[in-house]
């Protein structure tokens, strides 16, 4: 190699090395400069973004796995102002397809991003998929066109649609008093109101998670999947719920009642099979709530509205009297038609005297005087101890949002008077919610065992199903007492040929007519009529509670609520596959309906 080539190589090496050194020094200088740190800090925001991922809200299914509350896709429509090239076209399409105001959209589309203007402008939200399909069709049509010469083709560049989930209730108003509703229009702060949506809000919502999404493809990594909220499986049966609601609506219309409640309950495990109230809201349009439920109307009267139940309460009085050993079914009572206590005289519902009666007849003729005698003979200590054991001094704890109760007046309270001992015995001067009454009376239908009322049968968490075990909340009476009382109630219904009887089935139950307290005393012309019954009597599978408020057709529970019970149960036994007595009691238990 000649000297000159060596010199050239040497020169190249020196130059390259020098350039490398200079570049290196410059790099160090720039990176260690004060401005470099600021640049680094600024660049962080361009490297990625931290997003909060909200899990899908858990679904709600009925006992047969039919969807009651779920999620569906809806869209946010927005404008990427940097990408808009034809504001008029964008405004025109947004106006015609989405029904937005043309001038307003045009104003947004003509904005220059920056200088106080946003880069992205939301135009609409919760847009249905049908509208998005229309937009996609238009966009595809515009994109497929070929320009001829200098022709300017229309486009809707910059008009964006982003998917997100929306709470939906495919059954509409069905069971809405149980489900409650979710304020889905608030995409980040939505919460559940009333019913299951409120009671299980945190479980249904799941846990939102913060994730970092890098813009740099090399720093991208798999994002841990955010598990959806807890799915609920209910004790509720959709078919029975629909039938119950239909029957309630018919009963309200037929009787001219102001409102009503029907509960179908499983006394063996405390599961609510159906719970119908009026009115009912479509939770898909939850913003109608204030119009449909003017204050103070409760969302679910079955758990939130108290009333003086009247004679259905006599079931509990007689249960206490039998269980305490004060009387047995054959104990005689001389009904003189009046009973004096605390300076007040108690009369029967027809002001009559029924003479020599036994305890079954006391129930059959619904004698207030007899009940007053029973409670007085028991004494306040025993009587109110039983009422507390029946859970009447507290909320039931049902897993629905919005439960309320009225305090039970007890001896020693400033508002308790001696006469209350008598009036309470026939369900006046005491206010209960329907679910309190159902829970208490269900103990008579379940061998004296009182179960906690509940709606949720199972939960699905991260793909695993967890069954919710029924809870015994007390044994207010002995099993023997429960059987005896059931038999007495069966006989009382059959003896009086009650309107509540169901052909082919033996049922036990009691009517109730409660007078309504007004500022001027009790009104006899306006009543709350109710009926509580259960069957089949030898092995109860259901307990049905009917309450109609202020019916105009009649003031008596035996004429209004009892026939509603009978009609409902005749449909219920078919839906629950309960064969009639003639089949059930003759054969084995391995049967099914067809």
């Amino acid at each position: 190699m000649s000297e000159s080539i060596k010199t050239r190589f040497l020169a190249i090496c020196v130059i390259c090395t020098a350039v490398a050194i200079i570049v290196g020094i410059q790099m160090i200088r720039i990176q260690s400069a004060e401005a470099a740190q600021r640049l680094l800090d600024t660049s962080e925001s361009y490297q990625g973004v931290t997003r909060v991922v909200y899990p899908d809200r858990g679904n709600i299914y009925d006992s047969k796995g039919r969807l009651l509350a779920g999620n569906e896709t809806s869209y946010e429509i927005g404008l990427d102002l940097n990408s808009v090239t034809q504001p008029e076209t964008v405004a025109s399409i947004a106006s015609s397809v989405l029904g937005l105001d043309y001038a307003q959209v045009l104003g947004y589309a003509q904005m220059t991003p920056g200088n106080g203007n946003p880069v992205y402008q939301v135009l609409d939200d919760f847009v249905s998929q049908d509208k998005i399909v229309e937009l996609e069709t238009i966009k595809a049509d515009y994109d497929s066109r070929k320009a001829k010469g200098n022709e300017i083709l229309p486009n809707i560049d910059g008009l964006l649609w982003t998917a997100h989930t929306q709470r939906t209730y495919p059954e509409g108003t069905l069971a809405s008093n149980i489900l409650g509703f979710y304020s889905y229009l608030d995409r980040t702060g939505g919460i559940g109101y009333f019913g299951l949506e409120e009671a299980y809000n945190s479980q249904l919502s799941g846990t939102p998670q913060e994730i970092y999404v890098a813009f740099d493809p090399q720093r991208l990594s798999t994002v841990e999947e955010v598990p959806p909220g807890v799915t609920l499986v209910l004790t509720l049966d959709r078919e029975i719920q629909a039938m119950t609601e239909k029957k309630l609506d018919e009963a309200i219309e037929w009787s001219g009642a102001e409102g009503g409640t029907i509960i179908v309950y499983d006394p063996e495990d405390g599961g609510v099979i159906s719970m119908a109230t009026s009115p009912r809201l479509d939770p898909n349009n939850y913003w109608d709530y204030a119009d449909l439920f003017p204050d103070p109307m409760p969302y679910n009267s079955a758990i939130s509205k108290t009333y003086e139940p009247g004679s259905v309460f006599k079931v509990l009085t007689v249960a206490a009297a039998l269980d305490s050993g004060l009387v047995d079914p054959d104990t005689r009572f001389q009904d003189t038609g009046a009973f004096n206590i605390g300076g007040t005289t108690i009369y029967n519902w027809n002001m009559g005297a029924w003479g020599d009666v036994d305890m079954t007849e006391c129930l059959q003729y619904s004698l207030n005087v007899c009940m007053s005698w029973l409670s007085t003979e028991m004494g306040p200590d025993t009587f109110y101890t039983y009422l507390k054991n029946f859970g009447l001094d507290r909320k039931t704890g049902i897993d629905l949002g919005g439960e309320s109760n009225w305090p039970l007046k007890l001896p020693g309270d400033s508002l308790w008077y001696e006469v209350d001992l008598a009036t309470n015995s026939f369900g006046q001067g005491i206010s209960l919610t329907p679910i309190q009454l159902v829970m208490a009376i269900s103990s008579v239908a379940n061998d004296g065992r009182m179960m906690a009322p509940h709606l949720v049968k199972a939960m699905v968490i991260d793909g695993q199903q967890y069954d919710v075990d029924p809870v015994v909340v007390g044994n207010p009476i002995k099993a023997e007492t429960a059987h005896t009382l059931t038999e007495m109630l069966v006989n009382s219904l059959e003896n009086e040929a009650s309107n509540a009887l169901v052909e082919g089935y033996t049922v036990a139950g009691k009517t109730g007519t409660g007078e309504i307290a007004t500022p001027y005393g009790y009104s006899s012309s306006e009543t709350n009529v109710s009926f509580v019954g259960w069957g089949p009597a030898e092995d109860p599978k259901f307990l049905v509670f009917v309450w109609l408020e202020k019916p105009s057709i009649s003031i008596w529970g035996s004429e209004v609520a009892a026939p509603v019970f009978s009609e409902l149960v005749s449909k219920l036994v078919v839906l629950m596959d309960i064969p009639p007595d003639s089949v059930r009691l003759a054969g084995s238990s391995t049967m099914t309906g067809q």
Binding site: N59, L67, E72, P170, S221, E503, S570, P580, T592
Partner: protein, 143 residues
């Protein structure tokens, strides 16, 4: 001359490393983007699943079924029309199960033999255990 060759060798090595780095980082970026696309696809599938379930719920809703039942001139069964059959051993169906069914783990030839996955100590232990089992004397013959 030798050191010039060394210098060029270094340059070539650095260029090779840089090329490899670029190749790997390019593949890494492409894979990252693919992961992102798959995640997006997964989210879309989740949404579609929700939509289909809701659609099914609407089609099978009580209101929709009632309309179809009415259009077919059908009416609810009354108790006296029901026929009940005795089915010995019949067990009524229980409620729905939303838990995934238990999966069966396939038993297949391992891709990596235990020799490649076990530690040296585990290998020694297994050999010793095998030796002990082979040396167990048989005291009697099974009838």
């Amino acid at each position: 001359m030798q050191w010039v060759g060394v210098f060029l060798l270094v340059v070539v090595a650095v260029a090779t490393v840089a090329g490899l780095y670029l190749y790997i980082s390019g593949r890494s970026a492409a894979t990252g983007r693919r992961i992102q696309n798959l995640e997006s696809e997964l989210a879309t599938l989740h949404r579609q699943n929700n939509d289909l379930e809701t659609r099914l719920g609407e089609i099978q809703s009580e209101r929709a079924l009632s309309e179809r039942i009415n259009s077919l001139n059908m009416r609810p069964l009354t108790p006296d029309e029901a026929l009940y059959l005795e089915v010995p051993g019949y067990v009524p169906a229980e409620g729905p199960s939303f838990a995934p069914p238990p999966t069966i783990k396939e038993e297949r030839t391992p891709i990596l033999l235990p020799e490649f996955t076990s530690t040296f100590l585990e290998w020694i232990s297994s050999k010793l255990q095998a030796g002990t089992q082979n040396s167990t004397p048989t005291s009697e013959v099974q009838p």
